[in-house]
Symmetry: C2
Subunit: 290 residues, 2 copies
């Protein structure tokens, strides 16, 4: 069949001659122009005091009031000497001040309005839509490097592994960004549009995911467990130049990303017998590099 | 709207009067007839020697030759004094004999044929189909308590969190069940039909998921890391009656399971503002109890 020729050619050109490029190989071959710098004001650097570090990228396209509040909390060093007090298996890690009594900085909002989706029309030309069907929305894709789901009118970020959200009490409370959680299991997509997503872990997720699970309800740490102390949380923009980490993400509108996503949907490298022919949005993690 | 009446009635009958039953509340109210005993020959009990235990339920509907071989390996106490030597974040934990040189018992197969799906027609009347669209298959559902995906002709188990599969080398090798892995992250559905799934962890998954991540390629443990020793792996059917654990799973063809799945798809308990209206197959874990 003639229509297979380009595919066969790709096979012939692959490094071993025996299989198509892996997603990682495609990313490794990306031109510099396919990478986008992540601004230092979008990076939260969490240090644990034992040499371990975790970095979160904020998502300023969404939950803008939450992201602004989080930047104020970080600037006030509010998370210094707080802790990770909840680890629920196949669900989330949560940190902040468990008592919820630590005073917030004067310039930080105590409560914020619900703001869980944005108008799709306003960002239509920046969306990269993915072809696979989704169990939760009429379409999925990426907006400026973030995994999103959408219907005809609105668009919202989705709870993939590593995504960070703002804990809240019962609605209409939408949290203030002081108590944050990160997903450490199968994507809990039922939380989409029910909680404000504010970012994602881009380095050191294993410092969350390998923590002992909490023994109390909802994975809260029990009286015989030690909450993991957080030494400091800083915006990279506040850190001196020589110690400031730099990250880039693959532009989700680049040709390389399209090739990468297609390879994730159709694994043809030598281990795979049968390409899936699709991928859910959370199985196409956006490549990030230091 | 008249069609909402049953739903409003359900709300009125819920315990607080303010919200619908949660999935957990529905399961807690299940009649005894909705629960099915898991046979002891389908239970693998892994002890770590420090009081920690993990239990795997074998899936005899699928990969039958692999499951039979695993029972032979367990009966020969083959996994005693092996280890967990691979922990890859958001992917898998793998255990067995890292050297792959430990001799197999005489009655165990060294290699097994590929057998990654079954004929759908043969089991059609036992399938409970779920309504949500799937990114990987034309339909999903449950067969005898196991999450499955299917197309018109075939049906196969899927790589949800906690599912256990048989490591293999390059095809046509399909492994022999000695080197096993469990999913500890977002469902790697691209592995479906590419590896033999043989069961799932039903107790103690945190003894896998909270292990330190391996520092080498693919999460293999490095020279400065200590592989977690496995003291013993036994079939429950081989354990004396008084120490033998008993488990039941919710019958996926029961009315309770249908109600539970619907509640997972449409969370209406008081925390949720907006029910998702669907759920991917891996977000409907089959309830299991001791």
């Amino acid at each position: 069949m003639r229509s297979l020729a380009p595919f066969l050619l790709a096979l012939a050109l692959s490094p071993t001659g025996a299989h198509a490029l892996t997603p990682a190989e495609i990313v490794a071959a990306a031109p510099q122009s396919a990478w986008t710098d992540i601004p230092p004001e979008d990076l939260l650097v969490m240090d644990f005091g034992d040499g371990k570090r975790l970095v979160i990228q904020l998502a300023p396209d969404f939950s803008q009031a939450h992201v602004a509040n989080i930047r104020r909390l970080a600037a006030a060093h509010w998370w210094d000497d707080t802790s990770i007090y909840r680890v629920q298996d196949n669900y989330v890690v949560q940190w902040g001040d468990r008592t919820e009594k630590k005073p917030l900085p004067a310039n930080a909002a105590k409560t914020l309005p619900e703001d869980y989706s944005i108008v799709r029309k306003a960002v239509e030309n920046r969306i990269t839509t993915m072809p696979s069907q989704d169990s939760y929305a009429s379409a999925t894709g990426f907006l400026d490097g973030w995994p999103v789901a959408m219907n005809a009118d609105t668009l919202w970020p989705v709870h993939c592994y590593g995504m960070v959200g703002a804990g809240r009490n019962l609605a209409p409370d939408a949290g203030n960004g002081a108590e944050l959680y990160a997903v450490i299991g199968h994507a809990p997509r039922h939380l989409d549009r029910n909680i404000a997503l504010v970012g994602r872990v881009i380095e050191g997720i294993e410092n969350f995911s390998s923590l002992p699970r909490g023994t109390e309800t909802l994975g809260m740490y029990g009286p015989n467990q030690t909450a993991t102390p957080i030494q400091s949380v800083r915006l990279a923009s506040e850190m001196p130049g020589e110690t400031r980490p730099h990250f880039q993400m693959l532009d989700t509108r680049s040709r390389t990303f399209a090739d990468y996503a297609r390879a994730r949907e159709n694994r043809k490298d030598e281990f795979f017998n049968l390409p899936a022919g699709g991928a859910d949005i959370c199985n196409i993690p956006v490549p990030i590099r230091r």
